[in-house]
């Protein structure tokens, strides 16, 4: 079938283009055929975790079925094949982020582990009592709590960059926080609760102007648009496999090579050492220094397949599709009586948070669930942000590459029934 003929049969209202055929994309995701209470699954929770295409599932089962062994150990053929596939995954991630070298890609178990790694290693190498780390009020707990644990140990000071009521990051206020004791800026690239895109290039330029390195939380950015760590000149960049349509159990920390090699190890064990004796042990350079023990081998292979999948669709096409859904959803949900959008920053990704006048997010979640719609409700692991907005929780619809305008309509109708029930 030609692209044109398959695109032609898309239901009216769907924003497929010849470059991006959403029905064809949907066919790659087996789970989207599931029914919930007898209705088609409308999965609007990709910001929490994305569904997996057949290509990822197959790559992982094929690895287990045809070429599986431990990596970096032994000369046997299976170990070689698996090591090649694993290191090939590292190459793919390096290309995905446009890193200079795959030695700058460290595999962790998730994004949270990557933040804990940086907090611990950067903390021990560079931070002392009174030194300051700047985060924003929009951070996910994964980029707050590790710094608080380090604060307990080292007596550092956490400073918090503010936002305005719409969720815009305030660059001037951020700049005013940069001072002689600032040792690191650790910021989200895109807020998982509001969808705000932080002007990270300006942030990095301001910080680098004072020789301060920058760590970005790219968990929501990596699935949404192309990330270029060299163009950004960012020092550390974190994302998580399961949100880029890859498996769980795999996270990525990018770090500039010199910065990484100046850090002490995180965990000790096999694979991270150059040599061990009871008197003295020496460590490998990055990335292996930070990857003690058997790594998530098949997860890396699955992540590689996810990255191939995204590359084949094209980052620009994905971003355009998701932005189209987001603007449509903001308009459509805005028409539902009682709905108030939370997070209306100038630059946004495909995340739409909202509350309703008479219905609590928890009740919204339960009611739309019965219409087959999966929404996230709660504080989105961003309680300081909720306090800033004076809310206990919001409902959040997040759009991935497989969502359609028809699904936005189903959500809007379900919200109309919420507003009927609660009057």
């Amino acid at each position: 079938m030609s692209k044109a003929s398959s695109a032609a049969k898309i239901a009216p209202g769907d924003n497929s283009t010849l470059a991006f055929d959403v029905e064809r994309v949907r066919a790659d995701f087996p789970i989207l055929g599931q029914e919930i209470y007898g209705r088609p699954l409308v999965y609007l929770d990709s910001a929490a975790s994305a569904q997996k295409p057949r290509q990822v599932i197959d790559a992982m089962s094929q690895a287990y079925e045809t070429s599986y062994a431990n990596v970096h150990r032994g000369v046997h053929r299976m170990s070689q094949l698996t090591t090649d596939a694993f290191e090939n995954g590292r190459e793919k991630v390096a290309k995905f982020l446009n890193a200079e070298s795959s030695d700058e890609i460290i595999f962790t178990s998730n994004a949270t582990a990557a933040f804990n790694l940086v907090a611990s290693c950067f903390g021990r190498a560079h931070l002392g009592a009174g030194d300051e780390v700047i985060v924003s009020v929009m951070e996910h707990h994964a980029n707050i709590v590790p710094w608080q644990l380090i604060r307990e140990q080292l007596g550092i000071v956490l400073r918090v960059a503010p936002i305005d009521d719409d969720g815009n990051f305030l660059l001037d206020e951020f700049e005013a926080l940069l001072g002689p004791r600032t040792k690191l800026v650790a910021l989200t690239h895109i807020s998982n609760a509001l969808g705000t895109i932080v002007p990270v290039k300006q942030v990095i330029d301001l910080a680098h102007g004072r020789n301060i390195p920058v760590l970005l939380d790219g968990c929501q950015a990596a699935p949404h648009f192309a990330v270029d760590v060299r163009a950004l000149d960012v020092d550390f960049y974190v994302f998580t496999g399961h949100k880029v349509y890859g498996p769980t159990g795999i996270g990525v920390l990018y770090g500039k090579r010199d910065l990484l090699n100046a850090l002490p190890p995180y965990m000790g064990g096999g694979d991270m050492i150059a040599s061990v004796s009871f008197e003295k042990t020496t460590f490998k350079d990055a990335p292996h220094r930070f990857e003690a023990g058997t790594p998530p081998i098949v997860e890396v292979i699955g992540l590689g397949a996810a990255i191939d999948y995204l590359a084949a669709l094209g980052a620009e096409n994905i971003a355009a599709h998701e932005n189209g859904l987001r603007t449509y959803a903001e308009k459509r949900l805005g028409q539902v009586p009682g709905v108030r959008l939370i997070g209306t920053a100038r630059e946004k990704a495909s995340i739409v948070s909202f509350v309703m006048d008479n219905a609590h997010p928890h009740d919204i979640g339960t009611i739309v669930d019965r219409a087959g719609v999966a929404l996230r409700t709660g504080h989105h692991c961003a309680q300081p942000l909720m306090q800033r907005l004076d809310l206990a929780s919001t409902a959040r619809a997040s759009f991935g590459l497989y969502n359609t305008r028809g699904e936005v309509d189903i959500l809007a109708e379900a919200l109309e029934s919420v507003s009927e029930i609660f009057g």
Binding site: V145, L149, A359, H362, T377, G378, A392, S393, F422
Partner: protein, 159 residues
Amino acid sequence: MDDLRELYQEVILEHVKHPRNKRTPADANRHAHGHNPICGDAVEVHLKINGQGVIEDVAFEGKGCAISVASASLMTEELMGKTEAQAKALFETFQEMCTKDDAKVSDGVDEDALERMRVLAGVRDFPMRVKCATLAWHTMSAAMARKDQVTTEAEGSGV
């Protein structure tokens, strides 16, 4: 939709719009703060218990979903004038009712009260919502036991 209607019955919606005893009595002598860290909902329960162990006043404050607010409001109506032992029996049976089809009824429970609380039994079909229905009751039970904090998840020390 049917179990949604069962969950969000008129009585519940009416309690949400006009919660009973949503106030802080000046003469209350037992208090507890209840908290559901998963959704961020929080409730304060205030009790005035006299020397004979009778609940002379019961009230609540807090923000939450319809189920948790309606449950707290209903609870205050049912506990007014009851003894601590009766309140405990009602709580036990209510918990059973929210989780099981064949709820065990504790000895000495006020059957009429139980019948009125049955409007919340719809949460049985919504396991994620049972904690919403029981938060105020757990908090009340903590207040009676002179514990001032309770959460639906285990919580320890912090940083």
